[in-house]
């Protein structure tokens, strides 16, 4: 049984690759700057945010954050990766209805494709992060490489969620709107531009700690920004959220995928 799945995946891995490269071609077709936008876009977004939090909303930014620009950029990039890739994954199965009605393709290819595409995009935008770090003269720690761990576990976590959402979206289009609202709420609880401690509210702190996004972002900041090693607890939390969500995603997908074509 398992062998069959592996064979199937190996047969269609080129398709996965081609689909991702198509996403890139279409994203940057007819734009003069092309791939440079993957770097420029987050850079400009973060510049805007930075100015806003230093002028209009100066009271809201976290106190005592030594390098606010880098703190903010990391939060932004990781959260956007999560939001964009899950949102794309959500409609991926539906958008390929034409194809799925005509040929057999393993259906999980589509959410997987969107998460991979988001991940590659995110890696590009890390160039923006490095630029911000250089401008603000933030020290580059060797532990920066450990940042890959929270990033990759976040990708697995997103894949699990993307699979659940893409399956649900086939049956209920409402999910698309609900998810938009939900991620907005989630964003405010991810400590992107503040520290949970600054409010002095233990309940709120506890609530934020329950947010997996906050955990991934914090682990990433610890390694990339503060030059720390990951604690055992952090390693466990990142892996646990990712694996639980992936298992859930696979389960939901497996239970529903045979019905997809009947509802699309």
């Amino acid at each position: 049984m398992l062998k069959l799945y592996v064979q199937d995946f190996l047969r269609y891995r080129y398709l996965l690759y081609n689909l991702i490269s198509r996403d890139f071609k279409l994203k940057y077709r007819r734009s003069v700057l092309g791939v440079a936008w993957s770097v420029l876009n987050p850079l400009m977004m973060c510049a805007v945010m930075f100015v806003i939090f230093n002028t209009l909303m100066a009271g809201m930014r976290g106190e005592g954050i030594e390098n606010f620009a880098v703190y903010l950029v990391i939060g932004q990039l990781l959260f956007n990766f999560f939001r964009e890739s899950t949102t794309m994954a959500m409609s991926s199965v539906m958008n390929n209805a034409m194809l799925l009605r005509k040929v057999y393709i393993p259906k999980y290819i589509f959410p997987l494709q969107k998460i991979c595409f988001g991940l590659v995009n995110c890696l590009f935008s890390f160039i923006a992060l490095i630029i911000v770090m250089l401008i603000t003269r933030a020290p580059l720690h060797p532990t920066i490489l450990l940042g890959l761990y929270p990033l990759l576990t976040l990708a697995v976590f997103s894949l699990g969620i993307g699979m659940i959402l893409s399956a649900l979206a086939v049956f209920f289009r409402d999910v698309i709107h609900l998810w938009e609202v939900f991620t907005t709420i989630l964003m405010w609880f991810s400590a992107i531009f503040y520290t949970p401690e600054q409010f002095g509210n233990a309940l709120l702190e506890g609530l934020i700690a329950l947010n997996p996004l906050y955990q991934y972002i914090t682990a990433f900041r610890d390694t990339v920004m503060y030059g720390q090693l990951l604690s055992g607890a952090q390693i466990l939390i990142c892996a646990a959220w990712a694996l639980v969500m992936l298992a859930l995603g696979l389960l939901v997908f497996k239970k529903t995928q045979d019905k997809f074509v009947l509802y699309m």
Partner: protein, 250 residues
């Protein structure tokens, strides 16, 4: 007797009709409360059994909505039957309908690779057959033109060329030969004959009874999702023509 390459055993395919398809949560719960869910069921296939021997050139005939395409999709693995089993021993190459698997914004060259991998070929395999595809589709001068600028005949030629570079065990063709000019149709037929002489089993759906008579050695006649008749081409086609003629004279 040889083992059949395709074994369709008592397959039924049930669809929920569009009017009770729930597009939103509200509708879903409303219908759930009213007890209307799964109210209108429609059987596209009912208790269909079919055995195809290796090397057969099987034709499927029947009026619109008789379940021909559904049966093809069950065989190619797109649909999972609501009940019954479908077993295929070997690889299946479906000749997809026009345009599916192609991205109209990409060029023909890019689409050859995309569509090739959709069908499960490796890029290496496509590389090796690239010339053959270009040659057969006669589209060399348009390789780097986005597909949206192609005529439908050109798209069909490309689709057919990509799908038939392989030597599949089973080739599934749904009305594919109805596109393109007559010269290209002849070319397609020749290629399918050639594939078959190489041991490929073909299942063909067509509304052109002449084409079925010319190419197939066995025919199954579907009516309202059931197999009405199944056997050698001559017999089935005669009976089919008889009834359609009678229906037409009413």
């Amino acid at each position: 007797m040889q083992q059949p390459i395709i074994e369709v055993n008592n397959v039924s395919m049930r669809f929920n009709l569009a009017k009770e398809k729930s597009e939103s949560l509200k509708e879903y719960f409303l219908q759930l409360v009213k007890g209307k869910l799964r109210f209108d069921e429609f059987f596209a296939l009912k208790d269909v059994s079919l055995q195809v021997q290796p090397g057969d050139f099987y034709g499927l005939i029947g009026l619109n909505g008789s379940g021909k395409s559904t049966l093809l999709k069950v065989i190619s693995g797109v649909y999972k039957p609501s009940s019954g089993t479908c077993k295929v021993r070997g690889t299946v190459a479906p000749l997809i309908e026009l345009g599916a698997g192609f991205d109209m914004d990409l060029t023909a060259r890019e689409n050859i690779y995309l569509n090739g991998t959709v069908l499960g070929f490796s890029p290496k395999y496509i590389d090796a057959h690239f010339e053959e595809i270009v040659e057969f589709s006669e589209l060399r001068d348009f390789l780097d033109v986005p597909l949206k600028n192609y005529s439908s005949g050109m798209v069909a030629r490309l689709a057919f060329a990509v799908a038939t570079i392989t030597k599949p065990d089973v080739l599934i063709a749904d009305e594919i030969l109805a596109v393109g000019d007559f010269l290209f149709q002849e070319k397609c037929e020749q290629r399918m004959q050639k594939l078959m002489s190489g041991g490929t089993t073909v299942i063909l759906v067509s509304h052109s009874i002449e084409q079925i008579e010319r190419m197939c050695n066995k025919v199954a006649w579907l009516e309202h999702g059931r197999i009405k008749m199944n056997g050698p081409t001559q017999e089935v086609c005669e009976a089919y023509k008889q009834t359609t003629r009678e229906d037409g004279s009413h």
